[in-house]
């Protein structure tokens, strides 16, 4: 089976929810940017995998082609909660792995509303929100974080430090929604949404899109694109194995651990070999959990990771140097490909002020609640 490479990849600058163009135009922007990144044309693409959640029944992929070139290629529209973009990318990877195509386009795009996600009504009888606890995302991830507090004594301040770090990183990323330093006092004193998550510890709802052109090894060589190509060393998707508290407490840990184990095996590397990580910091509490889930440290050591700065730019394994979902923004269906864009940019040595020096191996991780976990390990190509 051929190795699969990313040859073109880009993302739009993430913008305030509701201010972007229509979903097809937004997706078309990133698709064209990714094609331009490798100098290819839509006519050369053999298939399109398109990730979008909010309009999952509305043929978004086909509408993107109706904007940039209707060539008759197969289009598959993917929805997998916040793992949607990673799922579309993985389907493109798998199609090339299977030998069906040599050049495939993957697009992730989302237009977001403002405000709280989750917990909204539905069902028969009376509304359950605020009666049977909370189904809002900030509360659900607060509870997931409190499980870490229960086991290891992780503090509100440690969770808040995640937000300080990611906001700092975003000041060096022109494509981030925000580029604002947020000191620890600002984060901790921001409006409390669901303890221990304040407003600045919740991801930002934005409009955005990201796209990637994937190619087989044969095609990369034929087109002379190996110099800036990024090798996909592992692509893994898992769902949530049964856990005893599943029915009331979505489990983001087990599916991540399962995916990480498979990804390291597939790539033939260990967590220690990874130079940078873009992980699913949908809430500050979540990021802490994933240091351990991804094996970046041992169980119970995540608090120390954030305290010592090991996960900040300049540290042993910088996490979310893009600014993360907390500051760059989280357009659900685009996030999985935007993370791959960030890691690819570092592996190409093109990340400017936020460049992780000598980056050779990077990992991307997303979680779709309900649940899906997507992990990719990417490698710099030694030309």
């Amino acid at each position: 089976m051929s190795d699969v490479f990313v040859v073109g990849i880009d993302m739009t600058k993430f913008q305030k929810a509701g201010t972007g163009p229509s979903v097809d135009l937004l997706g078309a922007q990133a698709a064209l940017m990714a094609l331009d990144d490798c100098g290819l044309k839509i006519q050369q693409m053999e298939a399109l995998y398109c990730g979008n959640l909010g309009q999952a029944n509305a043929m978004v992929g086909q509408r993107v082609l109706q904007q940039i070139g209707q060539t008759g290629i197969p289009v598959v529209n993917c929805a997998n909660a916040c793992a949607t973009g990673a799922t579309a990318f993985r389907e493109a990877w798998m199609a090339i792995k299977a030998g069906a195509y040599d050049l495939v386009l993957a697009v992730g795009v989302e237009q977001m509303g403002a405000g709280l996600l989750g917990g909204g009504g539905g069902g028969k009888g009376i509304p359950k929100e605020g009666l049977l606890g909370s189904g809002t995302m900030p509360a659900v991830f607060a509870e997931a974080g409190m499980e870490h507090t229960r086991k290891y004594g992780t503090t509100f301040e440690q969770f808040a430090k995640v937000s300080v770090k990611n906001h700092h990183h975003s000041t060096m990323n022109p494509k981030s929604m925000y580029q604002i330093e947020t000191p620890i006092e600002t984060v901790m004193n921001a409006e409390m949404i669901a303890y221990p998550n304040t407003k600045l510890m919740c991801s930002v709802n934005v409009d955005g899109s990201a796209a990637a052109v994937l190619a087989s090894e044969k095609k990369v060589r034929e087109l002379g694109l190996m110099k800036r190509a990024v090798r996909v060393k592992a692509s893994v998707l898992t769902s949530d194995p049964w856990q005893e508290r599943d029915l009331v407490m979505p489990d983001v840990n087990t599916c991540t651990r399962l995916a990480a184990k498979k990804a390291y095996e597939m790539a033939g590397v260990g967590a220690r070999d990874i130079n940078l990580v873009e992980l699913h910091d949908c809430f500050a509490t979540a990021e802490i959990l994933h240091y351990e889930n991804l094996g970046l440290c041992g169980d119970g050591e995540a608090g120390k990771m954030i305290d010592t700065g090991e996960v900040a730019l300049g540290g042993r394994v910088p996490v979310n140097v893009s600014g993360g979902l907390l500051s760059k923004g989280h357009p659900l269906g685009a996030t999985g490909i935007a993370n791959i864009y960030e890691v690819s940019t570092h592996l190409r040595g093109e990340a400017g002020k936020r460049q992780v020096p000598n980056a050779r191996l990077g990992l991307t991780h997303v979680i779709g609640l309900g649940s899906a976990c997507g992990i990719h390990i990417l490698e710099k190509v030694s030309a």
Binding site: I126, S134, W242, M249
Partner: protein, 144 residues
């Protein structure tokens, strides 16, 4: 649309797994897989832990348990009174349930992870459905 006849009716359970017997006290009902012991809330025929079919048996869940984790919710949807404590409770003998923790200050200094709690049954905060029916809900409170 007889408001009077609706209000005369007895309250409905807020969820299917809350049982309100004609005689006897309210209780939460679990469904336990006889093959692997997994406990579920609500009726089902197949166990998603082990895949066994038609091995579910209804069991009465305990009214005591311990607080597993919580969040204090300060921002919710319009019309929903805040703050409130969203709590996940492990019931003694099996079963994990989510609900509001009441009769304790919504202050992290006052709430202890692992604290013993009990299940109490009361009116569902005055919420009624479109037909005007009242509902009984379950809540958690610190165990004395």
């Amino acid at each position: 649309m007889a408001e009077s006849s609706a209000s005369a009716k007895k309250p409905l359970p807020v969820v299917d797994f809350l049982k309100l017997p004609d005689s006897g006290d309210p209780y939460l009902e679990g469904h336990k897989c006889q093959a692997c012991g997994a406990v579920f809330l609500g009726e089902r025929a197949i166990c998603s832990k082990c895949g066994a079919r038609n091995q579910m048996k209804a069991v009465k869940l305990a009214n005591t348990g311990t607080l597993y984790v919580y969040s204090i919710v300060h921002r919710s949807f319009p019309g929903i009174e805040v703050p409130y404590i969203s709590a996940i409770v492990d019931l003694d003998g099996g079963g994990t349930v989510k609900g509001n923790l009441i009769n304790i200050e919504p202050n992290p200094e006052k709430i202890r992870l692992g604290m013993p709690v009990e299940v109490v049954y009361k009116d569902a905060l005055g919420r009624k459905d479109r037909e005007g029916n009242s509902y009984t809900s379950y809540f958690f409170q610190p165990r004395r």
